[in-house]
Amino acid sequence: MDPSYARLREKGKSSKVGGTRRRRFSLLKAFPRWTALTLSILCLLPLSAFAKVYIDIDSPGSRRLPLAVLTLKAAPGGSPCPDRQVEEVIEKVLLNDLDVSGYFRTLAPDVFLVERDQVKFYPAKIDYRAWSLIGAEALILLRTTCKGGQIETEAQLLDVLTGKLLTWKRYKSESAGARRVAHRFANEVTKELTGVPGAFDTRIAYISNATGSKELYVMDYDGNGPRKLTALHSICLSPAWSPDGRKIVFTSFWKRNPALYLLDLRGASALKQMFPGFSPLCSGGAWSADGKWLAFSASLDGNTELFRVPAGDGTRPQRLTKNWAIDVSPSWSPDGKHMVFVSDRAGRPDLYILQPDNGKIMRLTFEGSYNAGPAWSPRGDAIAYVSRVGGAFQIFRIRSDGTDRRQLTEGAGDHLKPSWSPDGRLIVFSSNREGSSDLYLMRADGTGVRRLTWGPGDETDPAWSPARR
């Protein structure tokens, strides 16, 4: 007999025998089958009903945020300013700051759909549609009230799309301080919209020969209000700010030999020569970001080397390099652990990175026939420097590991002495591209170049101040 047939028969028999029982348990037997079926159906359900599709959206790259600035009339209680001059200055300065940053596109007032008199200063009473229709994503409302010689400025930054009040500031100042009010609010706006405050409330120290001799000057970062600080009738060079922004150290040939001089901006003490008698030849001071050290180059035995000195007592400079070559132009990394400087130890001027604590030295630049004037970005991510390209000096940037070397400036003329803004977003440099040497500003990627000085003399050696606290 076929075994399978036998099995079949067996099965049939048993089913016949247990007929009654089978009926009793048929439901129970069927139960798991049904549950399995329903479960499998249910199991398929989430795939169809719950599966959510995720779309990947990559950043469209750098785009400027459209922003509208509107100055409202004075507050109901306060007296309006005699003329609109102060209001206009604040608005103009703010617009310029926002434009310099490169992050914002300010909308022209002639596209606004509402009159300035119709707009209330309260976020809840603003018709946001009127602003989103013209493409604005953010709205700045300004309101200035004059009280005697004092001005009180209120400023709001609003998110047009969500109707959220992002920041609301009130500034009180002399009417002469209107520009600073605008700079400070520009810092605030930048902070709200990019996460990092701007550095618009800063100054630039520089050297100018407008009076016939090279003297030290200081002006606002946007070129406003230049002020002469020295009258040495000599040659001043290479100013550098202390991290608290109160002192400037610079090199001068005032007493025939180049020496470092310290100028206290509060005017309490007169000009002071640093470590007199230490070396006949000192130059190029640079403060570390924490203010603990001042680095400079000096020559003791006819060869220029790097030194550093504790900023508190400038008595015993500590030697950092020992080499037959010339080592100059130190610039600290923001963490104070490294220093970039120029040396011709490989036969031509190149950048090197030194660790002052252990004396380790690493060569940074290999390209270009003449590399000099390094400035370490306050963000730490890049070093700006000058390199010769076909007979003219251009400004480059490079990472501290030697990668990502990029040329930032181009065109005729020399571009020299780059100096970073304290937020690391802008670079000021001097250039003679338009004949006489003047100061120019650009963004850290080389875009947005604008001229800062328009005087008759030569302006050189810019040094950007630290952020004001």
């Binding site: 959510k52 995720y54 799309l161 996460g195």
Partner: protein, 269 residues
Amino acid sequence: MLSLRGSIILSACLHAALFLALLLLSGTGRARVVYKPQYHVRLVRPQEIAAPAKARKKKVARRSPRPAVRRPKPKPKPKKVVLPKKKTAPKKKKTEKPLPKKTHPKKAVKKKAAKKPKPAPPPVKKPPEPAPDEVLAEALARIKKKAGSRKKEAAGAPGEASSAWEKKQKEIEYKAYYDQVERAVRENWIPPQDMNFEEAPAMTVVSLTLLPDGRVLKSYIEESSGNPQFDQSVMRAILKSTPFPPPPIGLKKRYFELGLRFHSTPQAP
């Protein structure tokens, strides 16, 4: 015996419970389907092409004789001719319902119904004027014939292949929609500049619930980048993109869920 059965049942129950638990958990965890914009080229077998092509040919073939039949319609009674057609439109549906595949013919019917008014009978002055009931009868016969031919066509088409084709078609439709959304949102997005994204890439995941007309019913940040400015820019992009292109969902669904993942730095493909 009983205890054995009992244990079997118990085990079945336990399994079922486990299954259910798993099911619920998977429901909350939400299966993630990641969609990346890409271009698709559909490779098809000749039979697959043949099936839709046949359908197309037949449609064309049917369309051409129609005006010929209509032309002799009486000029003074165009309304009467049009009316029965409208009435019969639902009839057609009825006749087709028992067909093996449901959605496809329905769509076809819809399209046809929409198209019908288009080739409206141009007022032709031709003498033979049949009686109104004759016209009606003729129209009915024509429709019946049409329905019959469609039945044949549907039966003749290889069911499996056509449903797969349909599925593909749907997939393509959805992908096109995702592309559309991706483009629209990207266009409106102004990510904050000057953040160190190269070293610390940011990603924000936004969950959207769209209504059939593309309006946003609900939107929330499912996964924050931890960077408030970046998240804000993302929400601004969503607000600017509203209303979204209407999702390709049928009439049955009331809303459509979608996730958007905003990347500060381009993703490796």
